[in-house]
């Protein structure tokens, strides 16, 4: 491997990791604050992608379409929270899994009814549709760099929100003990809506940005949700720091694994190990630390 290639793969791993982080942080927030296992989280990513596809057909200015897509997702998230999620907070995890899985199937079918089965086209904005020279021989898509940057900014904004604002303080308190926070006069209902919308927006942001890279079609968020769940388990359920560390670790291990294992072990075994590397990591982490790297909820 040349230095240029290592650099390119590092960028790839970082970008993949940051997109996973956008997904995983929502899963872990919902669990940490509302004690909710949300298998419909992939639907929010999908809605973000569909909304940008639809908005881009009506609005030519990309930043406006971007904002419109996120606002539409926020509206959908509020509806979903009020109608479906709220009664689930007090139910068992199995009920939550069944109900939210049902929601994901319903949303998958709903987008087919509105937009059809076939994948939609989303173009990246013209001013991001180029490449940057990393080395003399390797150029890197500008759009992928933009994804990494936006995801990092979103992560930073979330950290500022949680660590530096009153809302963030309440969310953190809610994660510790929701009942006491309620007893102290905080409107827990509103707080939970806020957390659900923030989680959904982060996933939708991932969808909006992935739209031009992957196929915008029904069920597109589900494979990423599986990986995000693995990330959350590795990082520790409910831990934001864990979600960040595990996302980056998974992104980099997966990306470099695809290069290294086939070289060391040959095509056949190398492929198998590369494809399983995320889950091997997850098994190892669970074996050593059953509650994940930064988990404090005894699992």
């Amino acid at each position: 491997m040349t230095a240029g290639l290592v650099l390119e793969q590092a960028f790839n791993g970082l970008q993949f990791g940051m997109v996973l982080f956008l997904m995983a942080v929502g899963v872990t927030l919902a669990f940490g604050v509302m004690n909710l296992i949300n298998l419909a989280h992939g639907s929010m990513l999908m809605l973000g992608a569909y909304f940008i596809a639809a908005a881009a057909q009506k609005i030519t200015a990309y930043p406006l379409a971007f904002v419109a897509a996120l606002m539409l997702t926020a509206v959908a998230a509020v509806l979903l929270e009020v109608v479906v999620m709220r009664p689930l907070y007090r139910m068992g995890h199995l009920d939550q899994v069944l109900a939210t899985f049902g929601v994901s199937i319903a949303v998958n079918e709903a987008v087919i009814m509105v937009w059809g089965r076939e994948a939609m086209f989303v173009a990246p904005p013209d001013w991001l549709d180029g490449t940057v020279a990393l080395t003399e021989t390797i150029s890197y898509p500008l759009y992928r760099l933009a994804i990494t940057a936006v995801a990092a900014l979103a992560g930073l904004a979330l950290w500022l929100l949680l660590a530096r604002t009153r809302l963030g303080m309440r969310i953190r308190a809610g994660a510790e003990n929701g009942d006491i926070v309620g007893a102290l006069g905080v409107n827990v209902r509103l707080l939970f809506i806020g957390v659900f919308v923030i989680s959904s927006l982060l996933a939708a942001l991932g969808g909006v940005m992935l739209g031009p890279l992957i196929a915008v079609q029904s069920g597109m968020g589900d494979p990423l949700l599986i990986l995000a769940l693995a990330v959350v388990v590795i990082g520790g359920v409910g831990s934001l720091k864990g979600a960040l560390v595990a996302s980056l670790a998974v992104g980099l291990i997966d990306t470099f694994g695809r290069m290294i294992w086939p070289q060391w072990l040959g095509d056949v075994v190398g492929n198998i190990v590369a494809n399983a590397s995320v889950y091997i990591l997850m098994a190892l982490v669970i074996a050593v630390r059953p509650s994940g790297l930064y988990g404090n909820h005894a699992a």
């Binding site: 040349t2 290639l5 993949f16 199995l94 173009a123 915008v216 599986i226 095509d267 699992a299």
Partner: protein, 423 residues
Amino acid sequence: MHPMVRRSAFAMRVATVPAACPARSAIKASVAAAFTAILVVSTALGVAGTARAQAPASIRLGFIAAMSGPLSVVGAEQKRGFDLALDHLGGKLGGIPFEVIQGDSKANPTATVQELSRLIDKDRVDIITGLSTSNELVAAIKPISDARLFFIGMNGGPAVLAGEQCSPWYFNASFQNGQLTAGMGAYMAKAGVKKLYLMGMDYEAGHEHTEAAKKGFTGEVVAHAFTPIPQVDFAADIARIRASGADGVFAFYPGAPGIAFVRQWNQAGLNGKIALFSNIALSEPTVFQAQGKTALGIVVSANYFAGIDNPRNRRFVQDFRAKFGRDPASYAGLAYDSMMLIDAAVREVKGNIRDQTAFRAALRHANFESVRGPFRFNANQQPIQNTYVTQVDQRPDGSLWLRQLSVAAENAPDEFASRCSMK
């Protein structure tokens, strides 16, 4: 899955065990016995039914395809070809009125078998056609053969069903998987590829198609990589391709991953630098809209594409465009062909499909005009047909189409026929 999820599911299971009291299990047993009795009786009736040899007043045709789930794009396109065939046949199959009973295979072997038993036992269909994926086929052929019904496959053909496990009840009117790519190895070598990078989705068809592409290739194969089915980000693989020094890539990615792969390939600036080959699964009319201009120049092999020039296909494509506003994908063309095959065979036996020996012989004759050009059945009831090489091109109005470059294999059988015991 989440550890909490698994734990709660386990707790649930433990909790339900004591509830299964003895009385309940007795009821269960008697229900099971009754069920078995019904099955036995209905099977016996079925056998009696097939013994009667006269033309039925109406034919019950079972049409099963992946109408929901991740591959519903395939099933929906098959349905379009099927519907157009119904239009062209004017409501009659070989001159006999017929009725369609639909099933949804969901690209899932379990769902396939359940839907088939409904079609066979409850709806009592006479003929079954359809199916969308190789894994469905592998699960479906045994129950269909056991029920002694003819099945005409509309899409895909795993190697084992063409070879060791061939069945006299199974006619594959689409392609044996290897046939989609037959001759591509030699074509790529001739096109000047010296170092070939093979990659595909990590499942049965991914292995079969990339293996078929390797045949006849005379240069060096620098890698043979497989990516997990859910993977949609190919940045790491694309970097690996560039680093390998390959001057040609054969990539098997149907559906959503194919869209993602083609777009990312384009964004990485590899269009025109490294030649990209595949078969029709990667780039065809159902994904053209989503791939847009990023697909231009890709070379794909196919046993059917809209541009094949014969009178039957011209009519099919023209009517398909009028109805659906774009070119038909191969799924539609092959579904249309399957219906025309059944129509011809029913006509040949004058509607007397209960004479199964005669009906099988008629199906084997395949006395119909295929939209794909030459078509006949081999001894293993898989097609002998052409494989065409096409390239994604653009019309003046900006829409994409497949332009024929050459014929990669002519009147070619699949390579597993010799392993089939049928003669």
